[in-house]
């Protein structure tokens, strides 16, 4: 198999990730974090702090307690949207974009049903950036924006978005599901901002890991309530970070794996990872651009790109192309709709879908060349039929 579905999840992980997850269970040393004074509970609590430190280091955040851990990117965005009640409330206005994943859109739609006013922006046709300033109203409270499109790979210029947010006193909430680990991010630059991430993609952690990074002070409410290991006689779940977003027993072995993933990236450096992913992407595009009737979505945007490339071959259904690639060449891509419905509407691919190729730092140039050849053959075969 040649695996080009890394924007869905990375399946080739650094060996240390698997070793740490295994150790988390097999060594029989990690108890329930913070529940009890014995060494096993203490060691588990200590491991969670290590995860927060590893995440904080990657994003240049000083205080690891500003990192709350959760299941994935969708959970992170839900906790943020539902936990910031002052912002996502009836009568408030929030700006988002048509390039968002459903992990952002659906929680916002839920808030909209409760009276939140929502503006959804389309990108500038040349730069793929969003004119936020034009959409600001008197009651605008926040901008919720993807850092990197999960489909076409366009990268949002966060510095520009943040400068507008700063000017108007808005909270910037970033969906970093695709960008975390794949490009350098100094989140300390973005005061009054929140970064939501998943652990199982570019951070090379296990599935079922993710988190929220706060840069600033926010009025937080718990979305879930339950065991916290503290303040037991309080009827309410704590509202202090990170406890406010962490309910019940945490997935310590998986977060140990995430720590290893973050450490792997820190060693490689995000800058070098970005360079390699850009190289693979460029090689792939160079190899496929001459295919008859190929459409590379977003190719003309003058912006940075992550590792995702979305294509179609003529009017061939994307699912048919994806299946052909898998069945004839063992190439794993993602076809169909990509949990980003407004992006498909923007590009007019609601019915056809798109075939997405997405790379990881473990992909090789040889695999890229095999993918290129396979796509040439696939196009030839499917355009004929």
């Amino acid at each position: 198999m040649i695996y080009f579905d890394n924007s869905a999840t990375t399946i080739h992980k650094p060996k240390e990730v698997a070793q740490e997850v295994y150790r988390g269970i097999s060594c029989e040393e990690f108890g329930n974090p913070g529940r009890g004074m014995h060494g096993a509970a203490h060691k588990a609590l200590s491991q969670l702090l290590k995860t927060r430190k590893a995440v904080a280091r990657l994003f240049n955040i000083k205080n690891p307690l500003s990192v709350a851990l959760c299941q994935n990117g969708s959970a992170a965005v839900n906790l943020t949207v539902k936990g910031l009640k002052d912002i996502f409330s009836e009568g408030s206005h929030v700006i988002t974009t048509c390039f968002e994943h459903n992990s952002v859109l659906r929680p916002l739609y839920q808030a909209e049903e409760k009276g939140l006013q929502l503006s959804v922006l389309e990108p500038d046709k040349d730069t793929a950036q969003f004119n936020i300033e034009n959409a600001i109203r008197k009651n605008t409270k926040a901008v919720v924006i993807t850092h990197c499109s999960n489909v076409v790979g366009t990268v949002t210029d966060l510095e520009k978005v943040h400068s507008v947010c700063k000017k108007y006193g808005l909270v910037m909430i970033v969906d970093g599901a695709q960008s975390a680990g794949t490009m350098p991010i100094d989140f300390s630059l973005f005061e009054n901002s929140i970064f939501c991430f998943t652990g199982h993609k570019g951070l090379y952690g296990p599935q079922g890991t993710g988190g929220i990074i706060l840069n600033g002070s926010f009025n937080l409410s718990p979305v879930f309530s339950g065991g916290s290991g503290s303040d037991s006689f309080n009827r309410n779940h704590p509202s202090i970070m990170p406890d406010v977003f962490e309910t019940g027993t945490m997935n310590v072995p998986s977060f140990m794996g995430l720590t290893a993933g973050c450490n792997f990236i820190a060693e490689k450096t995000c800058a070098n990872i970005k360079k390699k992913l850009e190289y693979l992407r460029d090689c792939f595009i160079f190899g496929i651009k001459d295919i008859t009737d190929i459409k590379i979505y977003g190719e003309d945007f003058d912006c940075s790109f992550g590792s995702s490339i979305a294509i179609n071959i003529g009017k061939v259904n994307s699912a048919e192309a994806g299946t052909y690639l898998w069945e004839n060449f063992g190439i794993a891509t993602r076809s169909g709709a990509h949990c980003a419905p407004l992006l498909h509407k923007y590009f007019g691919t609601e019915k056809q879908g798109m075939v997405r190729f997405s790379f990881s730092v473990f992909n090789t140039e040889q695999e890229i060349q095999s993918g290129v050849q396979a796509l040439h053959k696939t196009a030839k075969a499917l355009l004929k039929s």
Partner: protein, 90 residues
């Protein structure tokens, strides 16, 4: 019975308590500082308190503040003839 005087710092979150212990462990002068079970006489959030020497108080408070670690209360504990008395300092 040996008499003893020390300070305990309580936290409303076990994560903050753990971060406090870890931060203290990174400083040579504070080596040996550790979390201990909370005493029933102290009403506080999490099950741990950080036990320190009285002379370490200022350094530790500075350390917690610099690291964004939130504590609840600080008590001076006097243990005389097996009886503990608690005076809240902060």
């Amino acid at each position: 019975m040996q008499n003893e005087e020390f300070i305990v710092i309580s936290f409303s979150s076990s994560h903050h308590a753990m971060a406090a212990e870890a931060a203290a462990c990174e400083i040579d002068d504070l080596n040996g500082i550790r979390l201990i079970p909370i005493m029933p006489e102290i009403s506080a959030g999490c099950g741990f308190v950080l036990k320190i020497k009285p002379e370490q108080k200022e350094v530790v408070i500075k350390l917690l503040t610099e690291n964004g670690i939130e504590f609840s209360k600080i008590f001076l504990v006097r243990k005389e003839n097996g009886i503990k008395t608690f005076s809240q300092i902060i």
